[in-house]
Symmetry: C2
Subunit: 226 residues, 2 copies
């Protein structure tokens, strides 16, 4: 959330999601490019400690696959989606994470960490600084998220708006929903229910359909049908 | 240029670049995703006709490689860089275009069409709607261009600024310059001289160097050394 301390607003929702019993989550800091994994871990640990939980970076483990297999929960931070996907591929982590989540392990991701929960990285906003060696991601959900969704371009910008970019995506990928998540909103899937948290609405796109504007009062479960 | 008719401002520079003798340039409309190649061709032809030149879309030719080999000039329009690169790969056009340009054929590109003049598409702003099957591009120049360069994020946007994204690129690609081209500016290489056209400065990035702000008065030839 612009103008607020990092990860401060979502921490209350993270606390509700993880529950009262202290959890030590496995933190995946791979999206960090211009700062160290240790620094990223420390920043996130600070916020988690405030809600009675903890994280430990996957970079401390000799066997990252085993770390996933034994994790209580997985937390994937934002940064550059391309590097994140490349490192998840390089470390053979896509399938192990997807398997654990399918069996009920809590997954929390923001920004790039929400992009990789999707079938592919095709709705990231990030600069493709490295070839990810495949666009496929975790597919924890069957639809795509576009995080940091913006309605307008900055003044004087003559490039495509975000909506135009998503329309291009739909032209090439007509069978899939895209959810534009505005700042300060999040999607939660728990107890078989998918819902929105936050004051702004989500904008939902599908080919040949007028975009929907849905709020935290609405049921988002239709997005889960493939 | 925001607020002006499409391609209007650059047409005067295109006229100077192509010269007085009428040229019928080969137009590559592959970056168009949500509108037809014919419509794109018509839009660009209108502007070219105003300056005494013409374009013909490569999609009219049965043999696109031969069309490149016989072209007087090549014009590559903006849109989605990922689809553009994918179609250039699918039609085996990268090498033929690069070869013709190395031998002196004029090349004009804007937005996605400037991205593909670079070694790779790694500094595009576009949404990766399709796997390009390889990040390599034409490499007409040894540096990267970031078109539509913006200094600030829109209000309320909590994602990375453009400069932060480019810093991520440099972290992974430390040996290459990135030129942030602000709206209404262009790079021209002619008579062995690379220069900037337009009222705004270009912002030039390299790993571990303070970004440079250079104007149309400056010589940009240092960017051509590999």
């Amino acid at each position: 959330m612009a103008g607020e301390p990092y990860l401060d607003y979502p921490k209350h929702e993270i606390k509700k999601f993880l529950g009262d019993k202290p959890v030590k989550a496995l933190f995946i800091p791979y999206a960090a490019v211009t700062f160290s994994f240790d620094d990223y871990e420390a920043k996130v640990e600070q916020r988690f400690a405030e809600i009675g939980h903890h994280v430990r970076g996957i970079h401390h483990y000799d066997d990252p696959v085993k770390a996933v297999e034994e994790a209580e929960a997985i937390v994937v931070g934002g940064g550059n989606t391309w590097q994140l996907v490349r490192m998840l591929h390089d470390n053979n982590l896509m399938k192990p994470i997807a398997k654990r989540v399918a069996n009920g392990m809590p997954y929390i991701g923001w920004s790039a960490g929400s992009n990789v929960a999707c079938p592919t990285l095709r709705t990231t906003n990030d600069m493709p600084i490295i070839d990810p060696l495949g666009f496929d991601c975790l597919k924890l959900i069957p639809f795509q998220i576009n995080p940091h969704y913006q309605d307008k371009n900055p003044d004087g910008h003559a490039g495509e708006t975000r909506e135009q970019r998503i329309e291009e995506f739909l032209e090439v990928n007509p069978d899939i929903y895209v959810v534009g998540l505005r700042e300060g909103t999040m999607l939660k899937y728990d107890d078989d229910k998918l819902s929105l948290i936050g004051n702004l609405k989500a904008r939902i796109f599908k080919k040949d359909q007028k975009p929907l504007e849905l709020s935290s009062e609405d049921n988002f479960n239709f997005l889960l049908k493939e």
